[in-house]
Symmetry: C2
């Protein structure tokens, strides 16, 4: 099975099993080929489900001067794969996508709040080169306030997903702790702190690969590790499965951060990414014959 | 009983029953006199318990460059009565203070994060006259990040207080929702938004009493209503008790906001405060013979 993954990885082609695709038992391998409508990847498909869920959760209701910008900032943040990974992990361990939808939505909200605050113009803030210039639809004051509103709203969505019929309170509380840690002072915030510490430079070369790796580990890595672990917890995975998927998420997030961040042209980075891909796929080896194709595609998004 | 409250209120003297004070059955009224050591009020006493709990919860551990400022900001924020009210409400409905300690600590953390972000120097931010000039021990960048770290940490503390032996997951999830709503876009953030809308003026007269009331209702009022409701939920109060205490908290918070905020010299404000005091004490009428003295002292803190 491991060989199959590496082959897949080497080919740079990922065949995705859609939930809605017809599985033809006589051609097991062909059934794993992409059959999704409109050529959507698994990631894009689940992402649009998460977006739809969030659009329902954040109606444009009064006070409009608060909800309109909140709505805008939530959907203006660039898409992130951690929420989709959360759903994929839930499905991988045998759960239903819906069980992890609130957690995935909360993860997107946390990401959106983080993104908004990262781009706030503060009086002492040099813009790290790793952060693109973004269009600000609202003033910094509103963006600060709304970031502060989006974070609790994420935790509210999650807590509200408690369903007495499912008796899932303990899992939801555990996932709450997972998300608070991923976002807090030993997670996202620590990564943002490291990022600010990078010596500013006018050239292309920003910081070395080691520094990029450290930032990506705390930011994208932590968010994806959390997403995957939360999905596995909510889907009813074993402790071993949860930890495997947490590591898988860590590698996937680091790859994302390294390939899409500021240091993507850095020397030696390609090799590190390749190594991370191998490590990530290795974590999936024991999930034989399950929805492995969908989740393994995340190493290449 | 109601008369007794009004009398107490009229006298401006509040006799507090300490947990540790010896109750002498032969002198029931005297037993309600202040017998606490060092002349501490109930509020000050429970506040120091909350502080001790938080000090344990935020150890100075690595990374020190993150935890040291976090520690500082949490304890540099001015004390707020909402956390203590949470414990008082828990005790009033028959619960033990410890059952609400995590929620009270989370409330202080939310307040500290809010306070920190309210005082961030943003490029487009005029300083509302209602906000005092504060000393900034750290740069705005660090204060922004740490505020973002403190909020999830509060929710983590709360979620971690889940105790399988107590089977209290549902209460904790309910309290999580209460806190997210009090802090979010229809709570604290909405109040902060209103606050920014107040026309800036160089004179003493800022905005009218109606505006002050609206801001205080959303900010201090919402935080205290939440604190009291959370305490009642965690202490096992009935739905009726929870709602009574929520209204009590709302009035108490509004009084706090109006007496200590920018518009405290505004004409007509004293009358509004007096009316709020009466409304608050009215909510306590049915809690006869219970730890009413402690909690009623909050209308006068």
């Amino acid at each position: 099975m491991a060989a199959a993954f590496y082959r897949l990885n080497g080919n740079q082609t990922f065949h995705i099993l859609s939930r809605s695709s017809a599985v033809r038992p006589s051609l097991p391998h062909r059934s794993m080929m992409i059959t999704m409508s409109q050529n959507q990847s698994y990631w894009a498909s689940v992402n649009s489900e998460i977006e739809a869920h969030l659009k329902q959760a954040i109606p444009l209701r009064p006070p409009l001067q608060v909800f309109e910008p909140m709505h805008h900032l939530v959907f203006a943040a660039p898409q992130n794969t951690a929420p989709a990974l959360c759903l994929a992990a839930c499905e991988l361990v045998g759960g239903h996508r819906d069980q992890a939808m609130a957690a995935a939505s909360a993860l997107h909200l946390m990401h959106a709040a983080s993104f908004t605050h990262e781009h706030l113009p503060l009086t002492d803030r040099p813009r790290p080169k790793s952060r693109p210039v973004i269009h600000h639809a609202y003033g910094p004051n509103i963006e600060l306030l709304l970031g502060d509103a989006i974070i609790p709203f994420g935790f509210e969505l999650l807590a509200r997903s408690d369903d007495p019929a499912q008796n899932n309170s303990d899992r939801i509380l555990r996932v709450t702790i997972e998300i608070t840690r991923a976002m807090g002072s030993q997670g996202m915030v620590e990564g943002q702190y490291y990022e600010l510490e990078c010596p500013q430079s006018d050239g292309e070369e920003l910081c070395d690969v080691g520094w990029i790796e450290q930032v990506c580990k705390k930011k994208e890595g932590g968010l994806h590790a959390c997403g995957a672990a939360c999905g596995a917890i909510l889907g009813g995975g074993s402790e071993e499965e949860i930890e495997k998927l947490r590591r898988f998420g860590l590698y996937v997030g680091m790859i994302q951060g390294m390939l899409h961040g500021a240091g993507r042209k850095e020397k030696g980075l390609k090799e590190v990414v390749e190594e991370l891909r191998n490590l990530a796929l290795k974590e999936l080896e024991e999930f034989k014959g399950r929805k492995v194709e969908a989740i393994s595609s995340f190493v290449n998004v």
